[in-house]
Structures are given as structure tokens and as C-alpha cells.
């Protein structure tokens, strides 16, 4: 909606401008105008509809976009269309975490952990039938007092669950040519735990919000196209296995191939919207029907509920899904062939698979195989999700990485918990199946390393 421009303290400046005349003489306006236009292009690049939409489709898009952006409020409220936030929640709009549909970030401007950096929660399975059932249906075992993630907010009278605190230990990495890079390994702690201590076997995993670009296109990739790259036992002995995550779909009540989220634990956009609506905003919906209060959270259970059957009814869930699956992707940048050759030679393309042909003959370039890979101990979060174990992660699609980092401005962050400040750091965190490639990369000359990084920025 409308108008949310940052206010600046301007009254004093007006007076100064009037009395002292010109203050800002050094700006070359033409340049700043061009920057303005570029900034607008970045801004609009992820939020514009496909040009092919007709008026009725555009209506669905606009409606979904509105529900994506407008704040939800706690029930009972003085509004009805967006009533039902919480009782426990992380954010009151989708766009809070997916700014301009880009990626989330680790910290908020004031150094507190950003709400777009969600703390997922689970416990080690004790192999009991109850735990086994949870693993089959959710992919993990919920923490008994707090559930499946830490909600940093509650509506009035409902205490929030806890607040995360993140510190870093510094690790020095030295290239064979002697150049050093300092890597930061996060140490996650929970503070202000309002519902008692965490279970002793708790597993915490910080996850920044995913960029939302190309979701509808990824959905059109067939399961066969994904499965043909599987090599679970590494039969071709290239050191890369690759395994699809076979997940339980709550939407369709059957096992499906996961392709969204950091561990590929969700199979469709609609299911992911519904999942985020419940877990991040506390909005019940036709797929996730019950508020996420645990048995000990009495105020959460007793909190007033919204008026309808669901906070986010089917039509509105469909509208948000339509919005996210009908976003136009930006034009591909011009690719430097030499840079791309290096990217391939080093072996990045072993997992970051360049392109797919869709049923409508469109060729897309997500640079991912959408499979799980062992990324090594240092990236492990110990959290299992269906077939993904602690060290396994979905190959992150690399398309439009530079656009999503432009949205973040100066505070760039990569990888699931945003620990890497640069693409170089992200590469250096790769381990496990990526070790051979990483070694080839680190053995490159500095100029060639820059070319690989440059290529990633072109994708």
C-alpha cells in the first residue's frame, strides 16, 4: 500500500536552506537520478506481475499481493479481513521478512536479531512410536514446550516465547597463495525463555527468509527432471551424491519430492505459504488448521480466535499463492563465457545445475539441482527434516543472487543462517561433498577466484 516513506527531520533543514541558501553543492544530479532509476529497477524487479496476465488474473495477483503486504491484527479487532494474527507469531505481514520479495537478514538495524531470521526448533528422536509418527508427518520431532519454532512475539496477554541472541567466533581461512579471509561462525543462544527451559535434547537452527523469485517456475520442473540427477550412492564416483527429499505433503496427504525451503522440506508453493502463515504469523488456514500453541501454553490456547473457520481462508491462501507464482523474473544478465567456464571447471555446476526446460518450452536458469547434499560438519545444524540429516542442505538456487543482495543494501548475508557476508565466504563454508570443488577454487589465482565470484553475481 501506500506511502511508507521514511521520515527525516527536515524542518530544521528547510530553515537552513532558506537562510543559508544552497547547502548541498557537491551532488551531480544527473548521476543521482540514474541511481534512483536503478534502485527502482531493483525494487520492482521482484514484485511485478507477469506481463501475460489478463484482467481477472491480475485481480487475483493484486489481491494476493495485498494480503502479502497489509498488516494482520490480533482478534477481536476493529478490522475483519485481516483478523487472527497469532496468538504467537514472528511477524504481522509476509513482507516483513521478505522485503521486496528478497531474502531475509540476520540482524535488524539496531543489532537485535531480525524477525526474518527464524529459529527452528526440534528435539532428538527417542525412537518412540510418537516420535516416529512426528518424524513421518512433520519431518522432525517438535520441542514439547515451544513447538517447531521460536515465536518472538505474542498478542497482548500472551507472552512471546523467547528472543534469540547471536554471537560469532572468528575463524581464519588462508588460501594457498597466502591471502587470508576471516570467517564468522555463529553461536546461537536463546534468552528470555517465557515457557521454561528448553528440552535437554533441543536442536536450534537459525534460518533466514528465502528470496521468493521464480517460485512458480520451479514448481513447473517435473519430479523426473529432479530425480534424474539423484546419485544417492555416488555411483559415478565424483564425490557428489545428491538425494531428493521425500517429504510428507500435508496439502496432498502423500509423499512428494520436496523442492522449497533450506532443506527441501516442502513440495508446493501453496503448502509453503500455508506453513509460513501458521508458523510465522499464527494464521490458521485450510492446510494448517490449528493454532501452534503447545499444551503448556495456556494463554495461547485460550486466546480469542478469529471469526471465520480460518484466519487465512482458502480463497486468500490461493490468492497469495497466485501472487507468488506469477511474479515476473528479471531479465537474465549478460553472461561472461570465460567466467562461466571457470565456474564449471571448478565443479560448482555439479550441484548448481544451470538450467531446465519447462513444459511450455521456456528455459529457466535457477542454478540448482534441488537435491540434498552433505555440506560438511561446519555447516551442519544437526536438524533433521524428513530425509535431510543435519549436514544435508538443498543446493541453494543462485539465480538473481545479486538482486537479492542489492535489496539488502550494505548488510549482505548468505547461507541458511546468513553467516557469510560475501559470496567468497559462502564458497569457503562449503564442505562435505563440495570439498573437491572448494579445493579447486582455492587453488585458483586470485584473479580467477574473482571471476568465479563475478559469475555468481551474473546468474
Amino acid at each position: 500500500m501506500l506511502l511508507t516513506l521514511k521520515k527525516r527531520s527536515y524542518k530544521l533543514t528547510i530553515i537552513l536552506t532558506i537562510t543559508l541558501g544552497v547547502i548541498f553543492t557537491s551532488r551531480v544530479f544527473a548521476v543521482s537520478e540514474i541511481t534512483e532509476i536503478n534502485k527502482r529497477l531493483v525494487k520492482t524487479s521482484f514484485t511485478t506481475e507477469l506481463p501475460s496476465l489478463n484482467n481477472m488474473e491480475l485481480d487475483q495477483f493484486i489481491l494476493g499481493k495485498s494480503f502479502f503486504k497489509v498488516p494482520w491484527v490480533a482478534s477481536p479487532s476493529v478490522t475483519t479481513a485481516r483478523d487472527g494474527l497469532g496468538p504467537l507469531f514472528n511477524a504481522n505481514t509476509c513482507i516483513n521478512c521478505h522485503k521486496q520479495n528478497g531474502r531475509g537478514k540476520v540482524f535488524h538495524s539496531n543489532e537485535s536479531v531480525s524477525r526474518s531470521n527464524i529459529i527452528k526448533l526440534s528435539i532428538l528422536s527417542n525412537k518412540s512410536p510418537k516420535h516416529k509418527k512426528q518424524k513421518r508427518l512433520f519431518g522432525f520431532v517438535k520441542e514439547p514446550s515451544y513447538g517447531s519454532q521460536i515465536n518472538i512475539n505474542g498478542i497482548s496477554n500472551v507472552d512471546f516465547e523467547a528472543k534469540p541472541n547471536i554471537n560469532y567466533t572468528k575463524i581464519k581461512f588462508t588460501y594457498p597463495d597466502g591471502k587470508e579471509v576471516i570467517l564468522s561462525k555463529p553461536i546461537l543462544k536463546m534468552t528470555q525463555l517465557n515457557y521454561g527451559n528448553l528440552h535437554e535434547k533441543s536442536i536450534l537452527s537459525a534460518r533466514i527468509a528465502q528470496p521468493l523469485i521464480g517460485l512458480g517456475l520451479v514448481e513447473q520442473i517435473s519430479d523426473e527432471q529432479i530425480l534424474q540427477n539423484e546419485d544417492i550412492l555416488d555411483a559415478n564416483s565424483d564425490g557428489i551424491s545428491g538425494k531428493a527429499n521425500r517429504i510428507w505433503s500435508k496439502e496432498n496427504n502423500k509423499i512428494e519430492i520436496g523442492r522449497y525451503t533450506w532443506k527441501a522440506s516442502i513440495s508446493t508453493v501453496k503448502n509453503q505459504v500455508a506453513n509460513a502463515a501458521l508458523n510465522d504469523m499464527g494464521l490458521t488456514n485450510p492446510i494448517y488448521k490449528i493454532d501452534n500453541c503447545t499444551q503448556i501454553q495456556k494463554t495461547c490456547i485460550d486466546a480469542p480466535k478469529g471469526k471465520g473457520d480460518f484466519d487465512l481462508p482458502e480463497k486468500r491462501l490461493e490468492a497469495i499463492t497466485f501472487y507468488l507464482t506469477h511474479l515476473k523474473i528479471p531479465k537474465r544478465k549478460k553472461i561472461d563465457n570465460d567466467d562461466e567456464k571457470l565456474f564449471n571447471d571448478v565443479g560448482c555446476s555439479g550441484c548448481h545445475k544451470a538450467n531446465y526446460d519447462l513444459p511450455n518450452n521456456q528455459r529457466i536458469y535457477p542454478y540448482s539441482d534441488f537435491l540434498l547434499h552433505d555440506m560438511g560438519e561446519s555447516l551442519s545444524d544437526n536438524r533433521k527434516e524428513f530425509d535431510a540429516d543435519g549436514k544435508e542442505w538443498r543446493t541453494a538456487p543462485l539465480w538473481y543472487l545479486s538482486n537479492t543482495s542489492s535489496i539488502l543494501g550494505e548488510d549482505k548475508n548468505y547461507l541458511h543462517d546468513g553467516r557469510a557476508k560475501t559470496i567468497e565466504e559462502a564458497i569457503l563454508w562449503h564442505g562435505g561433498e563440495a570439498n573437491i570443488s572448494k579445493k579447486l577454487f582455492t587453488n585458483l589465482s586470485q584473479a580467477n577466484r574473482l571471476k568465479v565470484i563475478n559469475f555468481v553475481n551474473q546468474i
Binding site: M1, V22, E36, P76
Partner: protein, 432 residues
């Protein structure tokens, strides 16, 4: 009252718009555009000065009559302000994100016209369970108010001042609107709402009933003085913000934004390249009519459907918002304002005007229909009810506004500026 006002504005407009073109009729489309801005903002600031005066009179002597006078002044001020909204989204002083003109003029759009707002932050309202809400800026028991939401900052509200309201606006998130036209609207009209998806209009019943705030809120209420303080401070801030716009567009000032747009600012680094200026204007006009008016203001309201998504939901003045927002766009396209021709206009260079004229004629007939019904039969919030026959007309209007927005590409090309449809689509107004 309204017609005499329009006459007065016409006289004022013809009297003051002399500037660089002594005849008030320019042959340069940028000159015409900026002369309309000068005249339109001058009217807008005069109208909010009148609003401020009416509010001062109402709060110093609250009677039914002075309350009605204040409401009338608000409605009149929306007529000129609504037209100025066409200057948005063009990197101009009203809402640019950065540049010297943001620092100099404050880009006050969000402070003047933010909506939808969470009225329960400002004053009491009746919630969906029929209970009266409390814990707002007006009835706060503490001198420090925390608006809640994302990273809210507490503000001292022991006295409700212009600065306190400015500090509260959008503090903690988008819905936390404390200032501007719609905060004043709520304090004058009060809530107009239903809670049953249009099945039962149970707070202020009736198709022609807007909010009905009782006069007693300003007389016998325990919080009467707080409400008066709030109204006065909000009106004062509105005057201050629009005065800044007036300075930005004033004639005979070679250091302001108007002179920079026309390339005659004495500080040459501020002067805007003509092609950049025109391309920002054309694409901004397209985005405004398409993404803002057609989509955000009309489509969302009629598709949701929900009263809380209509623009002026307390006063039920949304039919005028639609009419004046469109008129503002038409002013710039045709080079006219208040019935006067200001000179060469973007439309002039378009060889085949038939598509644009047909769209405009359809749009104007839909707007007249919405406007007419709102005055005689049912307000906009009733016209968007799912089974209302008027829904079709509103949907047609929205579709034709979108098509007109796309026509800005042709208008730009005819004026030597290359734009594509994506340039006139969705500038993503929300910067969170």
C-alpha cells in the same frame, strides 16, 4: 458552499499562475506541468489552512455547528489535495526517497495521507466483539506511549503535539498511522465499520451513513481535551507539510524544486535533465493511475471486499477520492486545471488519440455513476458489497484505469521518451 469555493479557487488560480510564462499558457509541457503543480499545491495549502482554522474554531467552541464546519472543511480540502496525488511516484518532492529535495521538503506523503490506519491506536473504537477498545494515544494513562509492532520507539505524549504525532507516525510499522488527513478524519467522524463481511452493518447502520462520532467526545468526555489537542496538532502538521510542498513548487524562486525541474535552478547541479524529468513523470503517472488508483485503491477494496480497504472509510468520501485522483491525472495529461488550459500537454503529441479518449470517456462515466450513487443511494462501501449490481461498474472502471495507465507508454513515445509497460507498472510503493 462548494461551488463558491471552486469559483474562488478559479479566480486565485488565474491570478497567481503567472511565473515564467507571463500569459499563463506555456508551450513547453514541463512548464505546463509545473505550473499546474504550483496552482494545485497553492489551493491544497490554502484548503488545509482553512481546515486548520475550522478545527481551531471547533475545538475552542465545540458545537454541532462548528463540528459540521470542520467536517465540511475537511471534505473541501480533499478536493484539491486529491488532485495533487497525481504528482506522486515521480521522484518529486512529495515522495522521493533521496536527494536534496527530500532533505529540503521532507517527502511528507506518508505523513499526510497514510492509510489504512489502525484507528484503535488513536482513539477508542468498537471491536468485533462489540467492546470498546482502550489503551490508545488519547486515553493513555501514561505520559509515555509505545505504539507496539516492530521495533517501536516510545514517545512522550503528556501533551499531544505536532512533533509527538510525527514521531508516532508509522513508528512500529505501517498500520501505526498517527498523522495526516485520515487521522483527522477519524477524530471528526469516528468509526464506520461492519464485522460480518457485509452481512450486518452493525456499528453505524445505513447505506448513506458514515462514522457518527458524538459531539460529547469533545464536550463531556474525560478525554475531550486530549482529543482537541490531537486534532489541532494533526491539522498544524498537515499545514506545515503542505507548506513545504508549496515552497517546492513556488514561482519566482531559483533555488526550489520547480526551478530544478525546469533546468533554471541557480545551483546547476540540482537541475534535472529534461529526458530524465519527462521519463519520471510519464512512468510515474502510469504507475499512479494503474498500480495505485486502479489496483491498490479500487481493486483491493472491491475484491477483498472490505470497508477497511476503502480510502476514506470514516467519512465515506471514497467516491471523491477516486474522482479527484483521476482528475489529477487528467490535469497532467491534458494540461488543464480547474477548468483552465495551462498550455502544451503530453496528449498533444499523440497522433491517434482515439483509444485514450474512449478510455477516458468510459472512466468518467463510471466515476460519475459511483459519485452519483454515493450521493443519492449508497456510499462506496455499500457499492462494493459482493451482490451489489454496481460491482460490475467498479470492476470496469478499474480495468479501464489500468488500460489508461498502459497508454502512458504511447504518450511517452509520442513525446520522445522510450518507456515500456513495465515502467508504468507497480513501482512497489511500500518500502518496508
Amino acid at each position: 458552499m462548494k461551488s463558491s469555493k471552486i469559483l474562488a479557487t478559479l479566480l486565485l488560480a488565474s491570478f497567481f499562475t503567472t511565473s515564467a510564462n507571463a500569459l499563463g499558457h506555456s508551450e513547453d509541457i514541463l512548464q505546463t506541468y509545473s505550473d499546474i503543480a504550483t496552482a494545485n499545491y497553492k489551493d491544497a495549502v490554502n484548503d488545509v489552512i482553512s481546515l486548520h482554522k475550522a478545527i481551531t474554531e471547533f475545538t475552542s467552541n465545540p458545537t454541532i455547528n462548528s463540528m459540521n464546519q470542520a467536517k465540511a472543511a475537511w471534505l473541501i480540502s480533499r478536493e484539491s489535495y486529491g488532485q495533487t496525488e497525481a504528482f506522486r511516484l515521480q521522484n518529486g518532492p512529495i515522495d522521493a526517497e533521496e536527494g536534496w529535495h527530500v532533505i529540503a521538503y521532507g517527502a511528507p506523503e506518508g505523513q499526510m495521507n497514510a492509510w489504512p490506519l489502525d484507528e484503535s491506536m488513536i482513539d477508542y473504537s468498537i471491536d468485533a466483539d462489540g467492546n470498546r477498545t482502550s489503551g490508545n494515544i488519547i486515553d493513555s494513562t501514561s505520559s509515555i506511549f509505545n505504539p507496539g509492532g516492530e521495533d517501536p520507539v516510545s514517545v512522550d505524549i503528556s501533551t499531544i503535539t505536532m512533533d509527538a504525532l510525527a514521531a508516532l507516525n508509522e513508528n512500529g510499522g505501517d498500520a501505526n498511522v498517527a498523522t495526516g488527513f485520515h487521522a483527522i478524519e477519524f477524530l471528526l467522524w469516528g468509526q464506520d465499520q461492519d464485522y460480518a463481511n457485509f452481512l450486518d452493518d452493525n456499528v453505524t447502520k445505513g447505506a448513506l451513513v458514515a462514522g457518527r462520532r458524538p459531539l460529547s467526545d469533545y464536550v463531556v468526555s474525560k478525554y475531550a481535551d486530549r482529543r482537541k489537542q490531537y486534532l489541532n496538532a494533526a491539522a498544524e502538521l498537515l499545514v506545515s507539510d503542505l507548506s513545504a510542498m508549496n515552497l517546492a513548487w513556488a514561482d519566482n524562486d531559483n533555488s526550489n524544486y520547480k526551478s530544478a525541474l525546469l533546468g533554471i535552478n541557480s545551483n546547476s547541479s540540482r537541475n534535472i535533465d529534461r529526458n530524465v524529468a519527462l521519463s519520471q513523470i510519464f512512468s510515474g503517472m502510469g504507475v499512479y493511475i494503474k498500480s495505485e488508483l486502479a489496483n491498490e485503491r479500487i481493486a483491493v477494496a472491491v475484491l477483498t471486499p472490505s470497508e477497511e480497504d476503502e480510502h476514506s472509510c470514516f467519512s465515506d468520501n471514497t467516491h471523491r477520492d477516486i474522482a479527484t485522483n483521476y482528475l489529477g491525472f487528467k490535469n497532467l495529461l491534458m494540461g488543464t486545471y480547474n477548468g483552465m488550459d495551462y498550455g502544451s500537454a503530453p496528449i498533444d503529441a499523440v497522433k491517434d488519440k482515439s483509444t485514450i479518449i474512449q478510455l477516458m470517456s468510459s472512466i468518467e462515466s463510471s466515476i460519475a455513476s459511483i459519485d452519483g450513487l454515493a450521493k443519492t443511494s449508497r456510499h462506496f462501501d455499500y457499492q462494493i458489497r459482493p451482490n451489489d449490481p454496481q460491482v460490475k461498474e467498479i470492476i470496469k472502471l478499474k480495468n479501464h484505469l489500468r488500460a489508461l495507465g498502459d497508454e502512458m507508454v504511447a504518450v511517452a513515445v509520442a513525446n520522445g521518451i522510450n518507456l515500456t509497460v513495465s515502467d508504468v507498472t507497480d513501482a512497489e510503493e511500500t518500502q518496508l
